[in-house]
């Protein structure tokens, strides 16, 4: 049980594809516990992915139940091993920040409803949930870390679209 330091970009691991977990062993349980400890220690953090603490495996934790955006709509603590998004729908923009990219926030468009399948790290059982709203955003953000993606890869400018078209003679 330990709070781990969060890697910050440009640490190369943050841009690498993480590997699937082959066996749910004690090392994975320790990893999940470290992720949980690190998440709950972070100021207002609602999720951490293994690459953020230096482990290139497809494991992440999410818990939006204590956040103002997610407190009324969540699955509590989610410890996800080898998560996969089965389907997604809707889209909404939120201004995201990330512990691995301090002092910068940006508008990111994400699906508002997702179906995620993953191995529950405790039971080893496959689980499928439908997440919506902020929880869906948080899961997508953490799962991006498993693919070596930061929110910076998805940022869109606030003025894009609205102010682009005008032609001046």
């Amino acid at each position: 049980m330990a709070v781990q330091p969060i890697l910050k970009y440009p640490h190369p691991l943050l841009k690498k594809m993480a590997h699937p977990v082959a066996v749910l062993d004690a090392a994975i349980h320790t990893l999940v516990q470290d992720l949980l400890d690190t998440m709950y220690a972070g100021p207002g953090s609602v999720g951490v992915a293994a690459p953020q603490i230096g482990v290139g495996l497809r494991v992440c934790v999410v818990d939006v139940s204590n956040s103002r955006h997610g407190k009324d709509n969540n699955h509590g603590q989610l410890c996800m091993v080898n998560p996969e998004i089965i389907s997604r729908s809707g889209n909404a923009v939120m201004r995201e920040g990330c512990m691995s990219v301090p002092d910068y926030t940006g508008d990111v468009e994400r699906a508002t409803e997702i179906t995620v399948r993953f191995l529950n790290s405790e039971t080893g059982q496959e689980r499928e949930i439908v997440a919506t709203g902020f929880e869906a955003v948080a899961i997508q953000h953490e799962m991006d870390h498993l693919d070596g993606l930061l929110f910076l890869d998805r940022v869109m400018s606030i003025s894009t679209g609205l102010f682009r078209r005008k032609q001046y003679r």
Binding site: G42, P43, G44, S45, V46, G47, S67, H69, M94, R95, E96, G97, C98, M99, T105, D107, F134, V137, A138, H141, E142, F151, I158, S159, L162, F163, R165, K166, Y168
Partner: protein
């Protein structure tokens, strides 16, 4: 590098748009050893406008900065302004309150920006970002304003809509407020 070893300047460059403005200005800054700490550049009508906060290791002077930038700007017919920032002015202040994005649009008329922003200022709502555009057609011009502002402690976004509701009626414009306070993930 610690801030106290750096000196900061606000630089603005504006002129008719052409290729190579950013390259020309930033080349001069780079050769001087200046860092671009923060910047925003935009096309406003046919003008290209650059606003930059640049820093340089001390000792350095505004005169040195102008000496290098002036020929570049003159060659491209751009106006240049440089201001030295007093210590403590170079950092963005922490913004603890909610951040709101306010969109205002409607038939063009004088005073939209003034009326909206003065209403906000009277409530201590601080504007961080503001952009306006004249759109629509010549016969029916539409004015669009998009701004971001920090609410003072205790002021809810719904309250901002109420504060602006009178203007909405009076100016016959659409006004919407949404929270864009970042979420930490």
């Amino acid at each position: 590098m610690p801030h106290r070893e750096l000196t900061h300047y606000a630089v603005s460059v504006v002129g008719a748009d052409r290729t190579g403005i950013v390259a020309g200005v930033t080349e001069a800054l780079y050769k001087l050893g200046c860092n671009i700490a923060d910047s925003s550049c935009a096309m406003l009508a046919g003008e290209f406008a650059m606003i930059l906060i640049v820093s340089h290791k001390k000792p350095f002077t505004k005169a040195l900065l102008i000496e290098e930038l002036k020929p570049v700007c003159e060659q491209m017919a751009m106006t240049l302004s440089v201001r030295h920032l007093p210590q403590g002015e170079e950092d963005r202040k922490e913004t603890p309150g909610e951040i709101c994005q306010i969109t205002v649009y409607g038939a063009d008329q004088p005073g939209i920006v003034y009326r909206v922003t003065s209403t906000l200022a009277a409530r201590q709502i601080n504007i961080m970002d503001l952009q306006t555009k004249l759109a629509g057609t010549e016969q029916e011009p539409v004015y669009i304003m998009l701004l971001e502002a920090v609410l003072p402690d205790g002021l809810a976004p719904e309250a901002v809509e109420q504060i602006l509701d009178g203007l909405k009626q009076e100016l016959q414009v659409e006004i919407s407020v949404r929270i864009v306070t970042p979420v930490e993930l």
